[in-house]
Symmetry: C2
Subunit: 230 residues, 2 copies
DNA sequence: AAGAATATGTAACGAATGTTACGAAAGGAG
DNA sequence: CTCCTTTCGTAACATTCGTTACATATTCTT
């Protein structure tokens, strides 16, 4: 197979990806015939890039999946996240002042990756405003998510984190009766605390008459006091 | 004064800003004559935008300064940051899925702000690759900074935060004898902990023979053990 | 050099939080 | 319905951490 020819299913993945979404797939096909992109194939689990390697472009998972891991000197390894088809990596690093991968990348199964070098990215941005918007959106949303995380983790009391989560859900659902989308463990992970600690704080908020709840059905009784906590 | 005409000093500010740096100021002048930008003037302290307002472009502080504040229902207000000439706001929000300001903006003294609407941004990206790179760099660096902050705040023990700070400095300075660039208070703020807690953890690391220090002169004695902490 | 201002170390105490273990409740499979 | 699995609440205990206050050290002023 010509390494620059994309299959139908690969094109479908691209057209649904955050980076190439909202672009018609016919033009996608044309694009890739004129760009110096590469498709890398990892038939079996293998190291794709090591922590510290220089990043030279944006990569998109076409098939299979990629594990982002942190390898410690002790030999211990922590999995940061797992990337599925359509997901990208390198987009944050490529234009930043620190062009080195902060963690290592491994293909887990039969995996194909589309690599777009930096200059091709610039060309794409110039040619396709949709791509530019997508790329910007990708970065911006990442900042937004991170900001939220920082805000939550910056509270020095667990009670504040819980309150901020409840107020966030209140803004989203726009009603005092909340049906929470996460179970306790997910909620605790999101807030960066152990599950029993979360239960304790919820109980404490209930004792103080700020909220009522049973399982995932919550009711905010005193928004003002919840707000002033934060 | 024609509102789209920039003074020499304003052009100098722009050419040193993260967004318009590396671009010759003669072409800058030309650019702004063809773009639908606006310069807003706030002679005295005034509200520029409220939390929740829709962001319609990127703004750059030309003169004076802007305070980013969070107003609480209780009437209490927290200053998030203060923007100086050359600093920008809106660049993260404008392309994200959440186009509302997360906090309120106030001019503090006699202040002038250059506003570039969204479509003019896209035009600029197409016309000036340097601008595109700058904008991407701005967003990417922000993600990078945020990621660091999240990583630090995610450690559940203070000792880990301190260790990660020391290892970070070790990577930067590339030697075991470190001369730390922050005083204790700045260090503590960066790590999100009170100053006495930082001193206690440093003392504890010294007691355990992992480091030696006097004031800002540090020496890492056992890198491996420091690493395994993290 | 003397004194003031600032930065840092230290200790004690209490409050907040992590840990562990276990019981109760809910949901699912047979 | 009963058993099993998962989720959740709860309590006891140990630990960490924040707070406060003060001592010591350093730097800055005059």
């Amino acid at each position: 197979m010509d390494k620059n020819l994309l299959t139908k299913s690969q094109l479908r993945i691209l057209s649904r990806s955050p980076l190439f979404g909202k672009m018609d797939s016919s033009s996608l096909e044309l694009i890739f015939q004129h760009l110096k992109t590469e498709i890398y194939h990892y038939p079996s689990p293998k190291l794709i890039a090591s922590e510290g390697d220089v990043c030279k472009g944006i990569s998109i998972v076409l098939e299979g999946s990629v594990e982002v891991k942190k390898l410690h000197l002790s030999g211990k390894e922590t999995t940061i996240t797992e990337l599925s088809p359509g997901d990208t990596f390198g987009e944050v690093i490529i234009f930043s002042d620190h062009k080195h991968f902060p963690s290592s990348l491994f293909s887990v199964k039969n995996t194909r990756i589309l690599h777009i070098p930096e200059d091709a990215i610039l060309t794409l941005c110039k040619m396709k405003p949709e791509f530019l918007k997508n790329l910007m959106g990708l970065l911006s949303n990442k900042v937004w998510l991170m900001s939220n995380k920082v805000r939550i983790l910056s509270y020095d009391r667990l009670r504040q984190r819980v309150a901020s989560y409840l107020m966030e859900q209140y803004r989203i659902q726009d009603r005092l009766q909340l049906s929470l989308p996460h179970n306790r463990q997910e909620m605790a992970d999101y807030l960066g605390m152990p599950r029993p600690s979360l239960s304790r704080e919820l109980q404490s908020l209930k004792d103080d008459g700020l909220i009522r709840y049973h399982r995932n059905e919550f009711e905010l009784l005193e928004i003002e006091r919840l707000e002033t906590l934060i």
